[in-house]
């Protein structure tokens, strides 16, 4: 039998593949279930809130842009569809990073007393967020389509892989912030305003074409711009063709994952003392 304590846990940093091994899948499944059930267990609205809060945000943006600024012409035929397609993946990334950053502390007692691969905590936290936000995404797309908004459902053929690429990249970043948070408690406080600023610097509420030409390359260099662009290509335009930027995005995403996990594995043996 594989000696779990000595090999499975601590050799993980040297030989582990991209995904958890078979022995860890049961634990990952357990952690994922735990994240999904306990995250909203105490709240009255439960899961519903996870699905409704982005909807409320969408309603506010819709009201502000169509009734106050009255400037939605840039968004094509439907401002709602234009924003909705990009908003959910952003919220998924944002929530995954924020929850993931503090996820280790929630397992402090376990880390101090039980041997298990700590990275499963982060993976479960990120996966739980993505599962909920993706479910909300599918629901809003269905609602918009039924309401007659211009959504191309075959665009899902490209939307699903784009979400997958996003998940891998965000998991990598979350590894990084989660490991750092254990040692430096400022991470979570820096993260919130940073993400808020980034949101407005990402073409979510506006198209890249509206950005002044001088700064446009900077905004375009944001990897999340690729996510937004590809989702709009597929779901709003119905275009499914691949682009050279897709390969780059996949490469960046995997690089983020590998780098984030490397940092995490370097630091995780010392969590026990700091968590």
């Amino acid at each position: 039998m594989t000696p779990r304590a000595a090999d499975a846990v601590w050799s993980g940093g040297r030989v582990g593949g991209l995904l958890p091994g078979p022995r860890d899948r049961a634990l990952l499944a357990n952690f994922l279930r735990r994240e999904l059930t306990t995250r909203y267990l105490g709240s009255v609205t439960g899961f519903a809130w996870a699905l409704l809060s982005p909807l409320a945000l969408l309603a506010v943006y819709y009201f502000v842009f169509t009734h106050i600024f009255r400037a939605t012409g840039f968004a094509g035929p439907s401002f709602l569809a234009f924003v909705a397609v990009a908003l959910w993946p952003w919220l998924a990334a944002q929530e995954a990073l924020q929850r993931g950053a503090v996820s280790i502390a929630g397992y402090g007692g376990m880390i101090r007393k039980v041997a298990f691969p700590h990275e499963l905590i982060v993976l479960a936290s990120v996966a739980a967020t993505f599962v909920l936000q993706f479910a909300g995404y599918l629901a809003i797309l269905a609602v918009l389509r039924i309401a007659g908004e211009p959504i191309h459902l075959r665009g899902l053929l490209i939307a699903v892989p784009v979400w997958a690429v996003l998940l891998v990249g965000v998991a990598g970043l979350t590894f990084f912030v989660a490991a750092l948070q254990v040692f430096v408690k400022d991470v979570e406080h820096v993260l919130m305003p940073l993400l808020m600023m980034l949101m407005y610097l990402t073409p979510i509420l506006y198209p890249l074409t509206l950005v002044p030409e001088g700064v446009r390359p900077w905004v375009a260099a944001n990897p999340f711009n690729w996510v937004v662009g590809r989702l709009r290509d597929g779901l709003l335009e119905g275009r499914l063709s691949l682009q050279p930027s897709d390969a780059l995005a996949v490469a960046i995403s995997i690089a983020l994952f590998v780098a984030g996990r490397w940092v995490f594995r370097r630091l995780s043996p010392h969590f026990e003392d700091f968590v």
Partner: protein, 392 residues
């Protein structure tokens, strides 16, 4: 020889010491570059031992000696900074019962969680689940969230889970003294069955009784290093003797140098003749000098205690009108002989105390260990004059 179940080679564990806020950032950089932390506290150093299957080991030592750190290293909870740990089997760790549990989960869901932590899928758990439920004996509470359990109930579930998964090595940290009386009995009974069936125990306990009862070997840790390793009885006895002497030392009111410097009556030089090892029944003479700051004749009290501090006999110069003799300015000498040492073989201490001339205030306390040798099966620590006779 069979293959070792557990091998530790030169294992050491350093904990990073971080004083300032900036220190935490620097620590992160050091760790990322693969360096160790700059400032460390060494919790464990150069620990090596081998355990064969069925050869249980008890870990003893004072608080902070590194016992828990060692157990955590073996359990895989922490990675050693130095050295190598090789485990050739499944490790079950009971480090604080119920620590892997989640308070919001029901007892049943926590059984699944604990199994998953050991790398078992719910399907693999199978029949073991019923076994665990039966051993924990929680009745309907097994379906309640864990947060509603009493601490005793959590412990029962924890013990049931850890033991049902039949580990090759079971690591426990002072958890034998938990639960109610009947559960404790069941734990001990289970342990004995487990050991009889070839199970191996790595136990950390302050109870020498449990160490000697359950373990074949013992390891005494002191300041993170191995002080002594060997058969459980030998190590446990050495450890107890160390504590007896330490406790006795702690009673010493004040040091000689300090006493002399502050102008107090002090014992200077205490000698045992013919030597500090005597035959049972032989003579023992205690000689010494006393410093008297005001050159008045002090009172000397000489006592004999056992190694653990139990008083055996004591007598003072003013009780028998045998004052110390003045040999120089501020210097007095005394000499006391026990012509036939009635003490049974063992280790003892002579304690000499200096008192003021009134024999009221105790100023100094010096002690010296001596050994009485001999072969006898008599019990206790002193031979009382006695005779056997035919009943009337």
């Amino acid at each position: 020889m069979s293959t070792a179940l557990l091998t530790l080679e030169g294992v050491g564990k350093d904990y990073a010491k971080v004083e300032s806020r900036g220190g935490r950032l620097r620590l992160v950089f050091d760790l990322l570059r693969g360096h160790g932390a700059a400032h460390v506290f060494c919790a464990l150093d150069d620990v090596s031992f081998t355990m064969a299957r069925g050869e249980s080991l008890g870990i003893i030592g004072e608080n902070g000696a590194g016992k828990s750190t060692l157990l955590k290293v073996v359990a895989g909870v922490i990675q050693p900074t130095r050295g190598r740990v090789a485990v050739n089997g499944r490790v079950g760790a009971l480090l604080e019962l119920g620590s892997g549990f989640h308070p919001e989960y029901t007892g049943l869901a926590n059984i699944d969680l604990a199994a998953a932590l050991l790398g078992l899928a719910p399907s693999e758990l199978g029949a073991k689940r019923d076994e665990i439920i039966a051993f924990a004996d929680l009745g309907e509470h097994i379906n309640d969230p864990l947060k509603q359990y009493s601490s005793g109930m959590v412990v029962r579930l924890g013990f049931a889970v850890a033991t049902a998964l039949s580990p090759d090595v079971l690591i426990t940290d002072e958890v034998l003294a938990v639960g109610d009386e009947s559960f404790q009995k069941r734990c001990i009974a289970w342990m004995e069955r487990y050991l009889a069936g070839g199970g191996t125990l790595l136990l950390c306990s302050h109870s020498m009784y449990h160490i000697q009862k359950l373990c074949t070997h013992a390891l005494w840790l002191k300041d993170g290093r191995i002080e002594r390793y060997g058969p459980a009885n030998d190590v446990a006895q050495a450890y107890l003797a160390y504590h007896e002497e330490k406790d006795a030392r702690a009673h010493r009111p004040i040091g000689t140098d300090k006493a002399a410097a502050s102008g107090w009556y002090a014992i200077e030089g205490l000698a045992l003749e013919p030597s500090d090892t005597i035959e049972q029944g032989a003579a023992l003479t205690v000689r010494g000098q006393v410093f008297s700051p005001d050159d008045r004749t002090p009172v000397v009290l000489v006592g004999i205690v056992r190694a653990d501090g139990t008083p055996v006999y004591g007598v003072a110069t003013d009780m028998e009108d045998a004052p110390p003799v003045r040999i120089a300015v501020q210097r007095y000498a005394f000499s006391l002989t026990f012509p036939e040492m009635a003490l049974l073989p063992g280790r003892y201490q002579v304690r000499a105390h200096a008192l003021d001339p009134e024999g009221v205030r105790l100023f100094d306390h010096v002690e010296q260990t001596f050994t009485v040798t001999g072969a006898t099966r008599e019990l206790g620590f002193v031979r009382l004059p006695h005779r056997w006779q035919a009943p009337a």
